[in-house]
Symmetry: C2
Subunit: 527 residues, 2 copies
């Protein structure tokens, strides 16, 4: 945690694509658009960013608050494409007035109390890696805006090796969380793409998706109990392995995206570190054939830790294959037993559906297509901040759909997105698809799109494309997000998806816990 | 569905223990208390039950409503011990004024509309097998009380074999549900003890626990989407295999016990009918040793369909063993693959912890201790209505606790319950324990108690014992219910368990959906 988080782009200062990685990504993009992509814009330097005067300032009794230039600039945006667009335009007008770094739960409560009195909205901030406008401060008619950055709540406070659970503070970043569990032989094994720049509280607040492609797909099932500070006080649930006592209090908080309170700590269910592994890549003639194999594996009750598929274009773009085949990345892991029988049966499901396993075993898995893809997957978020300088528009959206509608759904989404790219930019782009998580009743397809835009018009072009894509998702029965969150960017589509009376009930719950409507206004519902 | 539901006791008219079964149960009870148990009371005949005049009556436009004597008497109580006590006292004063049997969702909505205008409370009624006061009509200051019996919403409306899901009406009883799925080769495999006398809507409304001892323990995870009629209108969620879009709307309804609306239909996730099985019983020297083996199996990631343990006294009482050993009932099942490797590893976990597998395989499983226990399990609910006539007090309560607290928890609960039996009845009783469901982070212990009470004083004696037991559950960190529900009987303890601000949020949600506070008043919260 030595370097600071960037005020523009992914990760920490000094991080980014290597020259080789950038050359690879750029070559792929130039080939895709048949054009040389010159750099037409530059990332904003901190000193050229002008911020409005703070409208509220923290009292001396809250010494963990800051209105420094860097702190405010670095908390103005999340990591979405339109965030980068506005940052490129040096438009940091939405910066928070104050950034608070509370060091314990009492200080979280103290910030909420002060903000209530000062008429300032409160935006909870974990690692800041929201890609849907979830951490952007909004005054929403109030006097000021305070961002609460929870990085100092970063401890694993207690480990229960017998029940395999740990009490972990909400601001704990992924790597710090795993590092503190490692000496106990335990792991949460929740590895989102944003792992290095996201926190436990953020994962819970957004119903984040993690490492496991099946079974424990979301953070939801890993939560044993929660402690949340609301403007009206503390909500703490019991540590229970299971319960049937009324609607789950935790399930009201999980996915609440900071509109009901700030998650300060949670008892989390852990795994022992796996020692048995089996895995490999399987090639398929096309994506739908691969999808049918995924369905067979997921309905077989085998529960692979990894069961992802890439369509031929996505496999090509990440360097995992030559573009002629779809790739499945398949893996089992266990701390208890040899998983060979599980892997053998899953591979049978694949060959039954026309798949061809890559030669070699677990070793090849780390080196072959699966390994190449995994590396590309982790480095991918660094590409956007480079490509946008060359007017490339690229973004992702992810959803879920039941199997019986999947093929028609997939085609409709790709068609709508491709058409929108052409309409918005006047030239052909590319839309690719992979599965990130799968269920017996359907997959979670994850779409990536690439377009070449016009400097100065990127925001509007992005919006036209993304809107057409999400229109198609909603009209064809999908969810606006499977594991990224709603935030503000997805609100119009979430409003169409969510039952209106559920929204009314949620508004009533919010009114009870946050009567002034200060917490993350505009996310999920309007207070 | 030929015979009517009983107005007193479990199941349908004409059903009950056979003479042999009753003799077995009675002999066990007499041996336990060292006393001959003469029958001192008789079950109320329908014609000797006096009901108050109905305070509201349904209009002719709702021809599916009835105020007949039988209908009102048969909907006065659930199936708890205090329900039987009041029934024995011929105290049917709480009978509903009207019982509605709507035949479709529109008629459900029509009943709600009429009840709102007539100022009558509304109690949803599935199979009526609540053991915690969940289906008892309460006027709660309103003019009348209407029970909505959903038995006519009993169809499987649509089957999606590709996604393995079905659209099923809320009033569908267990056997009818499985019978309609069978031709498609599919099964919900949700087999609570009440399977024959409970409905899909009831399972969902109470977060019921089912067949699977691990993984899919509650109905919660089997729900793909829900349709609920509230006094303010319909709430319908999308069919999605998974989603991260805000707090789950379904999770607000699952466990809401009829206070927010009436579940009219649900898309449910199904299984293929299993064709591969492995199972057997394992003997252990004592219950805690068996529990440690269960922990090993559940933390191994093997996911047995059955992994239940009975303490020596419970094994004896059901005839599964001689009282000197604890018994584990262990089983794996799959429609896809041979489960021998899974079973082999689970048995290794057991023998590592001192377990001795019973000789024989799956065949012996059906005939041996596991089979005996299974049969006793299904017949058990019929015993209470016979034993109460001989002043026997017997009841169960079930909870969950994390592993690191389990042994101390178990002893504290048994001690408190045993002491309360002695204090309330002046003689020793018996408290036994089994596990019904298990999780990597803890078990769901299920306690049964037996006491010999005083005719005429049974209600108070039962209350003293049950209260002491639940006090101990709550004080020692458990949940007031793992899968039976809260109802009205568990309210005082639920109020201590549930975070107060969550109760406030739930009340606000209810106020939004049920502004008159008519739905199942007093369950979970006070409107």
């Amino acid at each position: 945690m030595s370097a600071r988080l960037k005020h523009f782009g992914w990760g920490r200062e000094g991080e980014g694509l290597s020259a080789d990685e950038e050359a690879f990504v750029l070559a792929r993009a130039q080939a895709r658009f048949g054009a040389t992509l010159a750099q037409g814009a530059t990332a904003p330097r901190l000193e050229e960013i002008a911020l409005p005067e703070p409208r509220v300032s923290a009292p001396a009794s809250l010494p963990f608050c800051s209105s420094d230039h860097y702190d405010r600039a670095a908390h103005t945006f999340g990591k979405s494409y339109p965030d980068l667009v506005r940052a490129l335009a040096r438009d940091y007008a939405g910066a928070p007035d104050v950034v608070a770094y509370p060091r314990d739960e009492a200080e979280v409560a103290a910030v909420l109390d002060w903000a209530g009195g000062a008429d300032a909205t409160v935006t909870p901030f974990g690692g800041g890696s929201s890609v849907c406008g979830g951490v952007e401060p909004k005054r929403n008619g109030h006097k000021g805006a305070v961002t609460v950055d929870l990085r100092n709540l970063g401890k694993v406070k207690e480990v229960d090796k017998i029940s395999r659970a740990a009490l972990i503070e909400g601001g704990t970043y992924g790597p710090a969380l795993e590092a503190q569990l490692r000496p106990h032989g335990l792991t949460l094994r929740h590895f989102p793409q944003s792992f290095e720049y996201s926190t436990l509280g953020g994962w819970i607040a957004t119903r984040g998706g993690g490492h496991f492609a099946t079974l424990y797909t979301h953070i939801d099932d890993l939560v044993e109990s929660l402690r949340t500070v609301t403007p009206k006080g503390l909500i703490e649930s019991r540590r229970l392995p299971g319960s049937g006592a009324g609607p789950s209090p935790d399930r009201m908080m999980i996915g609440s995206e900071g509109i009901l309170g700030i998650i300060t700590q949670a008892w989390m269910r852990l795994q022992q570190r796996p020692t048995f592994r089996a895995g490999g890549a399987v090639r398929f003639a096309d994506f739908f054939t691969a999808a049918r194999a995924v369905r067979a594996v997921s309905q077989a009750g085998l529960y692979p830790s990894n069961c992802r598929i890439l369509d031929p274009a996505e496999a090509y773009n990440t360097g995992a294959a030559d573009g002629s085949v779809a790739i499945m990345v398949l893996a089992f892991e266990s701390a208890d037993h040899d998983v060979t029988p599980w892997m053998r049966r899953a591979l049978e499901c694949c060959t039954d559906h026309g798949g061809t396993p890559e030669a070699g075993g677990a070793e090849a898995h780390r080196e072959g297509a699966a390994g190449v893809w995994r590396n590309a997957f982790i480095r991918m978020p660094y590409a956007m901040e480079r490509l946008i300088l060359r007017a490339v528009i690229n973004d992702t959206f992810e959803t879920a759909i039941t199997w019986e509608r999947f093929e028609q759904f997939h085609d409709a989404i790709k068609r709508a997105t491709g058409n929108a790219i052409h309409a918005a930019t006047g030239r052909k782009g590319e839309v690719t698809c992979r599965f990130t998580h799968v269920y017996p009743d359907g997959p979670a397809p994850y779409f990536t799109f690439h377009a070449l835009g016009e400097p100065g018009a990127l925001g509007g072009q992005w919006h036209a494309i993304k809107s057409a894509a999400l229109d198609a998702v909603i009209e064809n029965g999908g969810t606006v997000t499977h594991h990224h969150a709603v935030g503000r960017d997805h609100r119009p589509w979430y409003d169409r998806q969510r039952p209106p009376l559920f929204a009314a009930a949620l508004r009533a719950a919010k009114k009870t816990l946050d009567p002034q409507g200060l917490l993350n206004p505009g996310v999920l519902i309007d207070p």
